[in-house]
Structure formats: C-alpha cells, structure tokens
Subunit: 334 residues, 2 copies
DNA sequence: ACGAGCGCTTACAACGTTGTAGAAACCAGT
DNA sequence: ACTGGTTTCTACAACGTTGTAAGCGCTCGT
C-alpha cells in the first residue's frame, strides 16, 4: 500500500537516487527519464516518508505554536493567522495547548516532539525570562508581553500606549470614574501591568486622581471573571461611569453583568476591551476595543522564526512591535 | 549540543542498545547499569530523536485534527477536548485548518505531513463519502454529519432528534411562527439537512403547517450570516415569533439583528441555537441551545482512532452517537 | 577517430533509532 | 566443577531518505 523510493525506482527502471533527484527537482535528469519516473510515482501514488527525510536532513518542516488555551478567541484567531503565515513558508503548524502552566510551557519549549519540530512560537504566561533562557535549545519566537528583553525573539504590541489611548478615549467621552478590570499582581500578569500603566498614565494626563477602589483584579481573563469583577464593583458601592477591561472576554462578561444589574451601556457605563475578537462585533452592544494587528503579529513571528532557522541563526534577539488601532463601537462610541 | 544514544553509551561505558533499553524502560537492566546510564542521560541532557525513532517504528505518536476553521468557537472548543483526550494516549495533536475546501480536506486526508502522522480526525464539510473512500490510506475518524455510513469510523450526535427537541421546546412556549435559519441545499449541507428534518418533524407533530418562507438559507454559519438572515426575514414581512438557528454563531448574529430592529428576545421573538459555545452563556440574552457533549465526542473519536491503530485495524467502520441535551437559557426560557 | 568535457546516473554510506538473535555473565542445584 | 536456566548485555541489520563521489556514455572540437 505504502511505497518507497525503491519501488518507484524498480518500476521506472532507474536507481533509487535518480527517483530522489526527480522528487527533489534536481536539474540534471534527462527529460524522458524524468517522465518515466514521474509516471511511476503517479502510478504507485508514492509519498516521501518525511521521518526518513527529516532524519537525513535534520529538518522537519513543522513548527509548533504553543498557546495557553485554544478556545480563548484571541488565541484561536491568532492561531489561524499563524497557520496561514506558516503555510507561505511551506511549514505545517503543530498546535500545543499549555494551559498557561509553567510545567506545560517548559515542556513545550524544551521540545514538544523533540526533533519533531524546527522551531517554536510560544505565547508564554507562566515562564520568566530566566526560565526561557535555560531552554535555548530550540529556535523560538515569543508572543506577547511576558518577557521583555528576554533571550529570544519577541513580537508584541505597545500595550502601554494602547491602554493609554483607550482610557483617554473614555475620558474624552466625559467619564471620570473609570474602572480597570483585570489587574494581576502575580509575575504572570505582565500584560496586566502594562495595561494598568497605560490606564494610570491616561488618568494622570487628564488630571484625574487614581482611585484604587476602581481597579479590580481578575485571576483569569475569562468572561466569568469580568462579570464577577463588575458585580463586585457595583455592589460595593463604587459607581463607575466607564470600565476598561484588559481583554475582550472580560469585557463581554462585564457587559453581561451590567445588563443583569440594570445598567445601560454606554449611557450609564461605557465599556472598552482589548483584543478585537470577533464576538465583540456582534455583542449587544458592540464592543469598543483595542485592535492589535493579529495578522501582522503572526506574520512577523513566522518571519522571525524563518530568520532564526536560516541566516540570522546567531544574531542577537530582536523585538518587533506590531501596530494596533482603536475600534470604536457602541459600548463606548465616538 | 544535541547528543545521540552513542554519546550517552560512551559516557556510561555500555552499548548503544543498552541505553536504548533504559530509555524505553526495558526490564532486564541491572540497577547499577541503569543508574549509570541515567546519570549520563541527565549529564548530556539527551533527548531521543523522534524522526529516527519513527522511521524505525513506523509510528510517530502524532495525530492530526482537521477542522474547517479554528476560530469558529465550536471547533476551537472541540479542538481543546481532542488535544486533552489525545494527551491521555500519549499523542500530540497537529491541528490543520481546511477552510472547508474540498482540496484542502483531501490534502489533509491524504496525509498532511505524509508519514508524519499516525491517524486523522477529520471534520469534513466538503468531501463526500466517495471522496473519502478513495483516501483510505490513513486511519481516520470522521466527526459530524457529513457522511453517514461512510467508509470510516464516525462520531456524531443525533441531529434530527436534537433539532426536533429544541423546536418542540419553542412550540411549547406557545410559538407558532418559528423560523429556521441556516438551511443549505449544497451537498456540504448535511448538518443543515438533518437539523431541518428535525425542525419539520417537530412542526408536523404539533400540527403546525410548514411555511417555507420561514426557512432561511445561510451560505456559511457565521454571525454575519445569522444577522443577515434575520434582517431578510423581518424586512420581507414574515413575522416570526421564534427563530431556531442551526448553530450558535448564527444565533448570536440573529440576536444582534433582532436587537438592531428593536425586537425583544424572548418576548417578541424567542431564539435557540445549536452547539452550546461559551459565548452563548454570556450573551444578552443568554442563549438557549442544543448542547452536544463535546468532551465525549472528542474522547470517542480518540478512542476509535486508537482502536484503528491497534487491535481493530480491520474491523468494519463504526458509528458512535454522543449524547446531547437542551440548555435552556434566557433567549427561550423554560 | 580520439580524448576532453560535460551531462546524466549510480553505488555507497550515513542520519539515530530499535528488533532480533545470540553471547556473556550470573545463579542455583547437583 | 558442571549443567541448565535465567538475566543482562551486545553486534548487526534495517527503517527510507539524501549527500558524496565516482562512473558511464554522449557530444564536440580537432
């Protein structure tokens, strides 16, 4: 059923290597020989055995993408773009779910299918720069905010600026009691820290006093956490007139909780998120959010990895910043 | 930097095969030999080369999951469960995005990374049973409704029953003008056909006349399609008092469109979906839906595939039906 | 017609691993 | 010490591919 070069060679009456040459597009093969070989390949439905090829070449043509959770829309959308960008390089993407745990992430980084993958695009939550440095084995590109100036290539957006812009937009709407949802004190909370920094910067610029009762922590960034945070804020008597959620799923949860408590969005409370996931374009109301250029992020990551596997093998780590913009929708309109 | 069995063997003063035996947990290795080898493995940070192992064993420990689109929440959630279930078997999952195109699906089925994967879990949209039969090369498990009694193992839920139940629920709420959104006449529309059949069956049981103006096609099953279908229905003067959407993203789009047109859910129009995606638990209003047991579907698929790779290699194709239930929420409450 | 040169093809070895078969070492029990 | 059996270890070959280097045969210029 499954044939090898040898079978094709016998059928075409040539050597194994000649078939290999045809398969690999080697130039110096006589036209009629090539035709005969190709006929045999077609007849036997020959497919190269990649394990063998990899063993020989030391390359697999497979890269891994490791994200915390696949069913978080942001990562799913990102994954789609990475798969597409990788296809342009002729790569297949093996997707790994780390669950955000450091052990899982370490496992991913130290070589999922050891030698099965040529490189890794990792979106780390739990691992620190030091952890990662210890895992230098595999060519790696990091996504997101976790590790700045780490030991590996790195693609991110300017979180502080983005958070500042979206907060300034809420201020521009005349809101003064702006809550921030999603703060985290753990070392994992690098994104949270940056976005919080942007938030406070915008407040400072507008001369609004920082009130830490308006800053709500969220252990994870799921819808349920956003909803819980809003309920806490409102029932504890802090009356925000706007909410900046550190990602869109938090914001969708917040919308839900506000609705349940009879508060109107945006009239009573304006809401803004971060990530621009598809859901936010159809929620009720639609969601104002920071829109990172995911397609660009994915493409940059893949290109950086391609560099690492090729000419830039030993160049110093690079940090690339992808653009973002504000998507103004109903929850905090223009 | 990267070491081989041979390096470990030299350091431990044993043969290559003994190291291999230690790595593979072979029983008959003297305790002190084993200790010496393990010390050497640790010292050199040895990792087996999977390409070589695969070449030798003919197995890769990698299976592929091919779905139409990763950023459709249903598939993302399913993917998460498949990855988890596969991990229990010691497998890694390579995720492939077919985009629902027949060419892509064929490519996936005929061997993504030829010889790189041991088996395939495919959620086909475009391929027919005949197409698939031609691709018998790879052990395969199909998900969903596309191909009944096809040439491969198959996991699904009882779509007709589920659609009948949810429609009956809407009827039970006193609704009589129940729209169905998502019908498709193309061969790709197998799920659509089954769900439509359940819908009509429920109408018939309740003695409600079928009105084909209430049945709206949807080219794809995205939020935008659901929104467009509802707008069409309402502006064309058909006044439904309930809408059964053939999946949840359609339903979320429908909620949005109804909201935009000033219709209240569920008071004016009740809405039900299909899939029980996370979004539907936080939408405004929350979404009544058919909840397939995704975790079970994933586990069954992985187990079937494990069978195919093992003892049941040549047993006839099996069809397994996973359970589902109705999740009653605000959009069409009890 | 002959050798140089080139185009085309091939044999061989190697990539790192494991299955097979058998050798060597060990352990009683006589 | 010797046998028979078991445990522990090893040499060798093979998985399917491609790089190397060399071989063959053709063309062409003289």
């Amino acid at each position: 059923m499954r044939h090898r070069l040898k079978d094709v060679a016998e059928r075409a009456g040539v050597s194994v290597k000649t078939v290999s040459n045809v398969v690999n597009g080697y130039q110096h093969v006589r036209a009629d020989t090539r035709a005969r070989v190709e006929e045999a390949i077609a007849a036997l439905n020959y497919r190269p055995n990649l394990s063998a090829r990899n063993l020989r070449k030391g390359r697999t043509g497979v890269i891994a993408l490791a994200v915390p959770e696949l069913d978080i829309p942001y990562f799913a959308e990102l994954a789609r773009h990475v798969v597409t960008a990788a296809a342009d390089q002729g790569w297949t993407v093996l997707i790994d779910q780390t669950g955000g745990g450091s052990e899982q992430e370490r496992k991913a980084a130290s070589g999922i299918g050891d030698h099965m993958i040529d490189g890794l695009i990792l979106s780390p939550l739990a691992l620190s720069a030091d952890d990662l440095a210890a895992l230098a084995g595999l060519p790696m590109v990091l996504l997101g905010e976790r590790v700045d100036h780490g030991p590996a290539d790195h693609v991110m957006i300017d979180n502080v600026a983005a958070a500042r812009e979206v907060t300034a937009h809420l201020i521009g709407l005349g809101r003064r009691r702006i809550a921030a949802i999603g703060s985290q004190r753990t070392p994992e909370g690098a994104s949270a820290r940056l976005r919080l920094a942007g938030y406070t910067a915008a407040l400072a610029e507008a001369g609004i006093a920082y009130d830490d009762r308006l800053v709500a922590p969220a252990p994870a960034w799921h819808r349920a956490d956003g909803a819980a945070a809003v309920r806490n804020l409102v029932t504890s008597g802090v009356r925000p007139d706007a909410v900046f959620c550190f990602n869109d799923t938090l914001a969708l949860g917040a919308l839900r909780a506000l609705h349940e408590m009879g508060l109107r969005v945006p009239e009573d409370v304006a809401v803004a998120g971060f990530d621009d996931i598809e859901d936010g374009r159809f929620s009720i109301p639609t969601l104002t959010t920071v829109a990172p250029d995911k397609e660009r992020i994915a493409r940059l990551a893949v290109e950086l990895l391609a560099g690492r596997l090729g000419p830039d093998r030993d160049s110093p780590p690079r940090e690339l910043v992808a653009p973002h913009h504000l998507a103004l929708r109903e929850s905090a309109p223009l």
